[in-house]
């Protein structure tokens, strides 16, 4: 629009200039012709110019309206498509869950029967081992089904929002991580700023946020080697608090980084490590339910950093809002366990 301005101006002025030119020529060549005869074409030209301008403006506005309407329609359509896809996925998960739970219940009960019967024939060769193995696999399918169900539930769950002190929460995550298998062989550090001021509070469900960060740390431990370093960091980033979990672990191949947030995504390197491929999908859903976003950067063989942004309520306001947040932090500190 701006780039066509000189052309537009010329088009507007051209008829008027032409009118003036005609008038001047008439005045010079035919001095006996009265002045109005010279002015009339100029006036006519001005009117034509105005009409042209009006036509031009109408065209431009109409074009804008149409393209805005088209864009809105496209956005609405893609939004509808996304919502529809999400709905379809939830419905699929619910159906899968429904169709698998009875057979799984029956299988587990059947295995318990065999277990009881075997109890009396303890010496049956290999039978106990086979039973233990099959039971383990049934438990694994059960876990997978309930994990998928959990994801579907989370997307629909009503979340209890309350001010959450992330500094405290990250400290607890770091503390809890010490109990993870393999954690003792890795160096796990938490770095949460206290100066010049502590992290602002975010609104959220403390339990869910804990699970999200804990999942990231558990992943970092799982996909790193003894001697590797893990860092849990937090900082203010514009209107959000940025939480990062970084490791010097095995990393993710470039062609797999884009898929890690999907359910059941299991990278080539991850296949040797037990897991269901739900963890990061769970993190993504929890963060999205809090109005935040996630990102991941990774280099194969060097390590991975997962970033989570959680919005700070009322951040765009100034000192009074900060004071208010501090106040809420104090109150939260009193009521936190």
């Amino acid at each position: 629009m701006n780039r066509s301005a000189p052309g537009t101006l010329l088009r507007i002025l051209l008829p008027a200039l032409a009118g003036v030119a005609v008038g001047v020529v008439l005045q010079l060549t035919e001095p006996r012709v009265r002045l109005y005869a010279a002015i009339a074409p100029a006036l006519l030209s001005v009117i034509i110019g105005l009409i042209c301008t009006a036509a031009l403006v109408v065209r431009v506005v109409a074009r804008q309206r149409i393209s805005a309407a088209v864009a809105a329609a496209e956005a609405a359509a893609s939004g509808r498509a996304a919502a529809q896809a999400a709905q379809d996925r939830l419905r699929f998960l619910a159906r899968l869950d429904h169709e698998l739970k009875n057979p799984l219940t029956a299988m587990r009960a059947g295995l318990a029967n065999v277990d009881q019967a075997l109890g009396r024939l303890a010496a049956v060769d290999g039978a106990r081992t086979a039973l233990t193995s099959v039971s383990g696999q049934a438990d694994r399918i059960t876990r997978l089904v309930s994990d998928l169900r959990r994801l579907a539930d989370l997307e629909a769950l009503q979340i209890e929002m309350a001010p959450v002190d992330l500094s405290k929460l990250l400290g607890e995550v770091a503390e809890a991580s010490a109990g993870l298998p393999g954690a003792a062989d890795r160096s796990i550090r938490a770095n949460v700023p206290q100066a010049p001021w502590p992290l602002p509070l975010v609104d959220g469900d403390r339990d869910l946020l804990f699970v999200a960060v804990q999942n990231l740390v558990a992943n970092a431990v799982k996909y790193s080697r003894p001697g590797d370093t893990l860092e849990i960091r937090a900082s203010e980033d514009g209107d959000a608090v940025l939480v990062e979990v970084a490791d010097t672990g095995i990393g993710i191949p470039a062609d797999e980084v884009g898929q890690v947030w999907e359910e059941l995504a299991r990278g080539r390197a991850a296949r040797a490590i037990p897991g269901t491929g739900i963890g990061l999908a769970l993190v993504r859903v929890i963060v999205a339910r809090h109005g935040g976003r996630v990102a991941i950067r990774s280099r194969e063989g060097q390590g991975t950093v997962v970033s989570v942004w959680l919005p700070v309520p009322g951040r765009s306001r100034t000192a009074s809002a900060v004071a208010d947040l501090r106040q809420r932090r104090d109150t939260a500190g009193e009521t936190a366990p």
Binding site: D97, H98, L100, K101, N102, P103, L104, T105, A106, M107, R108, A109, G110, A112, N113, Q116, A117, T142, V145, S146, R149, R150, D153, A156, L157, E160, A162, E172, A176, R206, D207, F210, V211, Q214, N215, A218, G279, T335, P337
Partner: protein, 241 residues
């Protein structure tokens, strides 16, 4: 009460034959006499005829689902222990199951040994001929009073301000007094599923309840911690009015 052999009689109602044909022998071998019903009407008929000690009802069944059978039982003043096999993972759904007077519930697919444990627990808790705590609208435990329908609680005369999850937890504790409740089970109650690493979520809610009740974890009068296992609600619980 009890079969001729002294074994507790249990009605198992589920429309999936694969489930009942595997669960029934397991329960039989575990010391129960089991009668299987393929739908809600059949279950209601068996309960009428056999006067069982407990029943296990699937919620999704043809011809009267589990909830419908439970509602009819309670409306008729029948207080035998009922375990619902729920289908929906959400905790609110469970809260509804408890409001309707189920003594307990299990989410499919469950561990059969867990069903066994809960059956034994509801039988232990059963108060023959009297309404179970889980079907009572109003309960009292020492200075604590609970209106379970309105989801409100008072300590002496002061109303407790609790988060919805803490209230749900308190409700479950009060209706399952003197019973060892594992963190995993309470987590499932609160969230409708078990978190991979979340039992501390339960500890946080218990801490909230202890603060509200003024309980000292070192010398608990309300909620005792059973190290490495879970929690137990300490005081005696009675129906109030």
């Amino acid at each position: 009460m009890g079969g001729d052999s002294g074994r507790p009689v249990v009605i198992l109602a589920d429309d999936d034959e694969a489930v009942t044909s595997n669960l029934a022998p397991f329960l039989e071998r575990s010391g129960f006499t089991v009668h299987v019903a393929p739908d809600g009407e059949a279950a209601a008929g068996l309960i009428e005829r056999l006067d069982p000690d407990a029943c296990v009802l699937d919620v999704l069944m043809p011809r009267a689902d589990g909830r419908e059978v439970l509602r009819r039982l309670r409306a008729a003043g029948r207080w035998l222990p009922v375990i619902l096999l729920t289908q929906v993972g959400e905790s609110s759904e469970r809260a509804i199951a408890l409001d309707e007077g189920a003594d307990d519930y299990l989410n499919k697919p469950f561990d059969p040994y867990e069903l066994l444990a809960r059956l034994r627990a509801v039988l232990r808790r059963a108060r023959p001929g009297r309404r179970p705590l889980s079907a009572s609208p109003s309960l009292r435990a020492g200075d604590l009073r609970m209106d379970r329908i309105a989801r409100r609680a008072w300590l002496r005369d002061a109303e407790l301000t609790l988060t919805p999850k803490a209230m749900l937890l308190l409700d479950y504790l009060v209706t399952h007094p003197n019973e060892l409740l594992s963190r995993e089970r309470l987590l499932e109650l609160l969230w409708g599923f078990d978190f991979p690493v979340g039992t501390r979520a339960v500890d946080n809610r218990v801490a909230e309840l202890r603060r509200a009740l003024g309980d000292d974890p070192a010398r608990p009068a309300w909620i005792a911690t059973i190290p490495g296992q879970g929690y137990r609600f300490v005081p005696q619980v009675e129906e109030s009015r």
